[in-house]
């Protein structure tokens, strides 16, 4: 009887089985979905991929990629390569809106712009002082990367400057290598006039929209457009006065090759239209592009302003890594600390593979820094730069550098047209105070 009942309902049983199986299938999908959801919320132990923003595929991005080899742990990192200006704009947009959605874990910021961000959005950045020792880095890098006593940035490349020059052209004008060591900007202008007269070649190429040369002059004297208290420091700034005088003298001398954009600038010395390039060490690869000029180039310390205490060292450019205060910040800070923050061997790789000179002082003891560069007549280029780096006077560029420079650029035209230096400086001071006070 029981058997009969079972037989009769066995097909029902089969049907029930079928339905259960189908239901189980769809249930599976749901559980999978929810598992993924919960994965995104992971906060305690960060397992996602880190996002990094940097510019220059062959330099900064490459440095990040090399760094991953030096990190103990398995790390997933997505690196987005865009321009420096783009990064600034996107950071501004993101941070000012207050949402950290889509923001990177690690971002590269130019030292000159860092303070703007740190002061405007201090909570958006994660202090990483405890992940490395600030004393290990060139001191001039600390001021721009810290704020309110906290270290926010991990100093990366140096913008230490030097005076690249064409040995052959200067010798033609009667200057030996010694004549260019530790000179002042005044001496540099004199040499420029001499070179132009004797060789017909311009001493320097300049873009009137780029006052980098003024910055280098100011920094060599430990001075800036602003005081450390963010006061506009133009009107009574002797260093600035001297710098502008040198600039005008240079302009009037016809020893300048004018360029209007970057490619022109590079082209000017690659084509032999300029005898010297006073700029950051990062220009070396561009200079080396002109293979026909191999062995003709030398590098000397950057000229200094003729002021007491001025050093033959200055900085132009350079950037540092910052960690944003979002999920994964500990992991990101750990990563930076272990690689850029303390690994000497890593810096040797940086030099040999991409020619990046870091600001990690211990790195200069490594072998890679002792390499003699044949393009520069066997000079130990990297080592020289790393030595000069330590002499760079520390200045606080504040947050208004770019704005003030914009005003100064415009006033500079008036100065070139013949207005007196005092008027130019007064006007600049006045405009800057109106704008930034």
């Amino acid at each position: 009887m029981l058997k009969n009942v079972f037989k009769r309902f066995s097909w029902l049983l089969g049907l029930a089985l079928l339905i259960t199986m189908l239901a189980a299938c769809s249930e599976d999908d749901q559980t999978q979905g929810s598992a993924n959801d919960s994965g995104d919320e992971g906060t305690s132990e960060f397992e996602g991929s880190l996002l990094a923003w940097a510019w220059d595929q062959n330099f900064n991005v490459a440095a990040l990629e090399i760094a991953q080899n030096y990190f103990d742990e398995e790390l997933k990192m997505e690196i987005v390569d865009s321009s420096s200006a783009d990064i600034v704009q996107r950071l501004n947009a993101g941070l000012s809106s207050g949402t950290m959605k889509g923001m990177p874990n690690i971002v590269l910021i130019e030292d000159g712009r860092a303070q703007t961000f740190l002061r405007s959005y201090p909570n958006a950045f994660y202090p990483i002082g405890e992940y490395f020792n600030t004393d290990d880095f060139a001191s001039y890098k600390i001021a721009p990367t810290s704020y309110d006593g906290k270290q926010y940035g991990l100093p990366f490349d140096t913008g230490v400057t030097g005076l690249f020059y064409r040995k052959d052209i200067l010798e033609e004008a009667g200057y030996s290598e010694e004549d260019l060591q530790n000179i002042t900007w005044g001496e540099y202008v004199d040499i420029a006039i001499e070179v132009k007269e004797k060789t017909g070649t311009a001493m320097i190429s300049l873009d009137p929209n780029d006052l980098g040369i003024i910055r280098m002059m100011l920094q060599s004297a430990g001075s800036w457009y602003t005081t450390p208290d963010d006061e506009i420091n133009i009107e009574n700034n002797d260093a600035l006065k001297l710098a502008l005088e040198n600039y005008k003298k240079l302009m009037d001398s016809e020893a300048v090759y004018m360029v209007s954009d970057w490619s022109n600038y590079i082209g000017s010395f690659n084509n032999g239209d300029a005898a010297t390039v006073p700029t950051g060490n990062w220009m070396a690869p561009s200079i080396e592009q002109a293979e026909s000029q191999a062995g003709l180039w030398r590098v000397a310390p950057i000229p200094r302003l003729d002021i007491d205490g001025a050093k033959n060292a200055a900085n132009l450019g350079g950037s540092s890594w910052y960690v944003l205060n979002i999920d994964g910040k500990e992991k990101a800070a750990e990563f930076l600390g272990q690689t850029f923050g303390s690994n000497k061997d890593f810096y040797q790789d940086l030099v040999t593979e991409i020619g990046a000179i870091g600001t990690f002082k211990a790195a200069s003891e490594g072998e890679a820094y002792q390499i003699e560069d044949d393009f520069f007549g066997g000079q130990k280029l990297i080592y020289k730069f790393s030595q000069w780096m330590e002499d760079i006077p520390q200045i606080d560029s504040g947050i208004n550098t770019n704005g003030i420079e914009g005003i100064l650029e415009a006033e500079m035209q008036n100065y070139l047209k013949g207005e007196s230096l005092e008027d130019v400086l007064n006007n600049t001071q006045e405009q800057a105070e109106n704008q930034f006070k």
């Binding site: 066995s10 089969g14 079928l18 004018m258 209007s260 954009d261 035209q413």
Partner: protein
């Protein structure tokens, strides 16, 4: 083996037939439903997809239009700006003136550049000397002289005061694909160019206008009117020329159709197109049908589910059919086996309702039939018994006549003694036949009867035939049917001694193995088989109605098959009849 298979097929013929029919109908239905389901959902999907994509294209068009607008607007502003015109045409005498010139022009460029949307476009102004002023050289930083002498610029010289777009991927753009818009700035008077206006965007950034709308298999590309693909989310398409795509684009645009399916790049695509008159390019949306359909409609899953359902329903169907057909087949088998069991074995009642009902009815019918047959047999038996009874009580009148005639002769011859003995025996015979109404008699009575019969016969025919009786004492009280032995004795008397004139008939009766065994033997002529048969047939019964032929039948009727009559005979030696009867003690 083959027989076995045949038997299997015979046995399962019904279920196989039903299964095949079911199988094919279920398969057909599910294949058709699956196919049409997939087709319908694919079509529906493609339809909705096309509608959405038409909207998406509209949106991309708007974005690109905005971009184009800002290029055009800036071009007009640049052209209108008289100070800029003066600057571009002017020259300088020394470095100081050059510095101011460059600074001022860069300021101008920056001023115009502020209007630009989006910000990943750069703008560049160039004077006739080839001095270029670039708003954002992060995006594009061409060498001045290369640009001045480039075919693009030369083309602008010839062109009709309009904005020309081109895709460049050469040293001009550092070997990265870029879209460059250019316009010659011309004098109002003689239309001679005094400078050039360029706007450039990396193909990568142009792609960002639409890349968000694309996905695996959903591709967007921009195609110049010469058939060259200038931008696409599929990087390997960039720079390709696909004339077929161009002709499709022209067709579709002409007929205002919504979309059509085409085959390019060795794949089937659904193809949507929109001509962007501002740019002079086609915005093309290629949807990889297979890939997209595969992503949305999981064909495998549908097929799997259909197959699963088919299997399950077939399985269930087979179970149910089996439950119905197996009892039927069983019934058929049992019924065909009926004869082997003399229709005595009833059908097993099992299986489904129908089978059980059939079996029940069949069994009922069988029982009825059995009852009827039994009744018939019993009636026949009764009739036969009645007949026999009647025969038992009847003496052939010829026998009486012959006997009386013999007695008359004996009387005439004066053999009084013999007459009186014969009459005595004859009376005993008559008495025995007429008075004894019982069916069975004791062996003793039978022997007396046989002796009387022998006497009567001997008185008629003389005593040349001797009759001996050998009866075991323990059998005397046994009962046996009337007139069982008499026919064989009579037979021996009248047929066994035709050639031989003398002989002996021996009658033996004994109990053996709990059976009563009677034997009638003669040493007469004997017979072969044929003779025996014909004799049995022809012999007239001289004494009573019961002939030897009936005896065996009668015994079997009364006591069953175990009992009966056996005859052995040999020519010239004699005949021996053995009658086996049950031992019935009175």
């Amino acid at each position: 083996m083959i027989k076995k298979i045949r038997h299997f097929f015979d046995y399962n013929k019904l279920i196989l037939k039903i299964f095949l029919v079911l199988f094919f109908s279920i398969m057909t239905v599910s294949v058709l439903i699956t196919y049409s389901g997939i087709r319908m959902s694919s079509n529906l999907f493609m339809d909705t997809f096309s509608i959405t994509n038409t909207k998406v294209i509209k949106q991309i068009e708007n974005q690109i239009d905005n971009f184009h607008q800002s290029i055009v607007r800036t071009a007009f502003e640049v052209e209108k700006d008289s100070e800029l015109k003066r600057l571009l045409k002017s020259d300088y005498d020394n470095t100081r003136e050059q510095a101011i010139y460059i600074y001022t022009l860069n300021q101008k460029v920056d001023h115009f550049y502020n209007n630009f949307y989006p910000n990943n476009v750069t703008m560049l102004l160039m004077n006739k000397r080839g001095e270029a002023f670039n708003a954002n050289f992060n995006i594009w930083d061409p060498d001045d002289q290369v640009l001045l002498n480039h075919p693009i610029t030369r083309q602008l010289d010839r062109s009709n005061n309009q904005i020309e777009f081109s895709l460049e991927n050469s040293s001009l753009t550092n070997h990265k694909p870029m879209i460059i818009a250019g316009k010659a700035l011309r004098e109002a008077s003689d239309e001679s160019p005094y400078g050039y206006y360029f706007a450039a965007i990396k193909e990568r950034d142009l792609r960002s206008f639409y890349e968000g709308f694309t996905s695996e298999g959903n591709n967007i590309l921009l195609m110049a009117p010469n058939g060259k693909i200038i931008s696409s989310n599929k990087k390997n398409y960039i720079g390709l020329s696909e004339p077929r795509l161009l002709s499709y684009a022209n067709d579709l645009n002409e007929y205002q159709a919504e979309y059509r399916n085409i085959r390019v790049f060795d794949k089937d695509y659904t193809f949507l197109v929109k001509y962007l008159p501002s740019f002079g390019v086609y915005l093309i949306n290629l949807v990889d049908q297979n890939l997209v359909a595969k992503n949305v409609i999981n064909t495998n899953e549908i097929l799997l589910i259909s197959a699963f359902i088919v299997c399950i329903s077939l399985f269930i169907a087979v179970l149910i059919i089996r439950r119905m057909t197996v009892p039927l087949s069983d019934l058929v088998n049992q019924i065909s086996d009926m004869a082997r069991y003399q229709f005595n074995k009833p059908l097993e009642v099992k299986g489904g309702y129908e089978a059980r009902k059939i079996a029940e009815s069949f069994n009922y019918m069988l029982n009825e039939l059995h009852d009827y047959v039994k009744l018939l047999l019993r009636t026949q038996e009764k009739q036969r018994k009645a007949e026999l009874k009647a025969l038992q009580h009847q003496i052939n009148p010829h026998f009486i006549y012959n006997t009386l005639a013999s007695i008359k002769f004996m009387t005439q011859q004066g053999k009084i003694e013999e007459v009186s003995q014969t009459i005595e025996s004859f009376i005993a015979l008559l008495q025995h036949a007429l008075t004894n109404i019982e069916e069975t008699i004791t062996v003793e009575q039978e022997i007396i009867h046989l002796k009387n019969y022998t006497k009567v016969n001997q008185s008629r025919y003389g005593d040349r035939i001797q009759v001996n009786f050998l009866v075991s004492p323990d059998s005397l009280e046994c009962r046996l049917p009337k007139l069982v032995l008499q026919p064989f004795v009579e037979n021996a008397f009248f047929h066994a001694f035709i050639k031989k004139k003398r002989g002996v008939i021996q009658i033996l009766i004994a109990v053996k193995d709990n059976k009563l065994v009677c034997e009638v033997m003669d040493n007469g002529d004997g017979m072969d088989k044929e003779q025996r048969h014909s004799k049995e047939e022809q012999n007239k019964q001289l004494y009573s109605g019961i002939g030897i032929r009936n005896v065996d039948e009668r015994i079997k009727l009364l006591y069953g098959n175990k009992y009966g009559v056996e005859t052995k005979s040999e020519l010239g030696i004699g005949t021996r009849v053995k009658i086996t009867l049950p031992f019935i003690d009175s």
